[in-house]
């Protein structure tokens, strides 16, 4: 463990930059613990705080720019792919679209603090034809707030962080095994949740040809279009007879429906 801290002290700035870059590109490698640790080391005078902040913002902007340009080039398909890979796919596209539709570029100021939103917001901005310059400006401020807050947290509580590091150091190489084990368990739990969700979806989904057949019958299902308002405005088509639902008013829409009413819903 001492070696790990020594390495972080020596290579702290590039390590933090690499961690932020990989996380913001979408890999499940949380950067906040590293930033907090780096903030604590900076408070102890072992790392340059300004350098850590600068490299974090630069790495974050680099990843955001990649996703923004992919979103601009490939549109909504990038979002779908991202959310398919996401560890929380059930809340991915729709929630992100809703947040972005409501707050626009301002949402980028807090995007890094919202799980799932951070990686999806840049391609969403790109697909929405937002200009690159204001996107970069808002992203830079958002990244500064996020990285700055994490570094500040580490700096403020550097005493506690140091004590944790001392405890881990006493465990020797076991500490590294413990940390890696905790990370593997975290990934395994999220992956299992993801696998169950997709299994559930596969079991319950209705294919388009079956829906079309049902729509022609007397007791056809109600079809809900649950895309975000922005998505509907970008593509104002719907399945004939579908009800475009505002999710915030879901209870109003369904209050009068019998509980055995068959409902089919769709996004993009």
């Amino acid at each position: 463990m001492n070696e790990l801290v020594a390495a972080l002290t020596r290579w702290g700035v590039p390590l933090v930059g690499a961690n932020v870059l990989l996380e913001q590109l979408g890999l499940p490698i949380p950067a906040v613990p590293t930033l907090v640790l780096a903030g604590a080391l900076a408070a102890d005078g072992k790392l340059p705080l300004a350098g850590l902040l600068a490299v974090s913002v630069a790495a974050s902007l680099a990843a955001d720019t990649v996703w923004f340009l992919l979103g601009r080039r490939h549109g909504h398909r990038v979002l779908k792919t991202l959310c398919r890979l996401s560890l929380s796919p059930d809340s991915c596209v729709r929630q992100t679209e809703s947040i972005f539709d409501r707050w626009g570029l301002w949402s980028l100021l807090v995007a890094k603090f919202v799980p799932g939103f951070s990686t999806v917001a840049p391609p969403l901005a790109g697909s929405g034809r937002v200009a690159l310059a204001p996107f970069l400006a808002f992203s830079a401020v958002g990244a500064s707030l996020w990285a700055g807050a994490s570094l500040l947290l580490g700096a403020l509580f550097h005493g506690a962080v140091d004590r944790i590091l001392d405890s881990l150091s006493r465990l020797g190489s076991g500490a590294l095994v413990l940390l890696v084990g905790a990370f593997v368990v975290f990934l395994a739990v999220k992956w299992e949740q993801r696998r169950r969700f997709f299994k559930e979806l596969r079991m319950a989904r209705i294919p388009p040809h079956e829906l079309r057949g049902l729509l022609g019958s007397d007791a056809g299902p109600l079809v809900f279009d649950v895309r975000s308002s922005g998505a509907v405005q970008r593509d104002p088509r719907r399945i004939p007879g579908a009800v475009v639902i505002d999710v915030d008013r879901l209870d109003e829409f369904v209050a009068a429906l019998p509980k055995d009413q068959e409902i089919v819903l769709y996004c993009t």
Binding site: D90, R94, L201, A204, R205, I206, P207, P208, H209, L211, R212, P221, L222, V223, F224, D225, V226, R227, V232, Q233, D235, P236, R237, R238, I239, P240, V243, V244, D246, V247, L250, D251, F253, V254, A256, L257, K259, D260, Q261, E262, I263, V264, L265, Y266, C267, T268
Partner: protein, 42 residues
Amino acid sequence: MARLLLDRGFMAVRPLAGGLDAWVEAGFDVEEVDLVGWREPA
């Protein structure tokens, strides 16, 4: 969304596989959304 409806007691809720894109790709009809007066359930 499907979960929200299931949580509210609806028993027969199914997402459309592939969403609107799959419906369009299958060549089935679509209609324009009236963005001013969205239809509400009867």
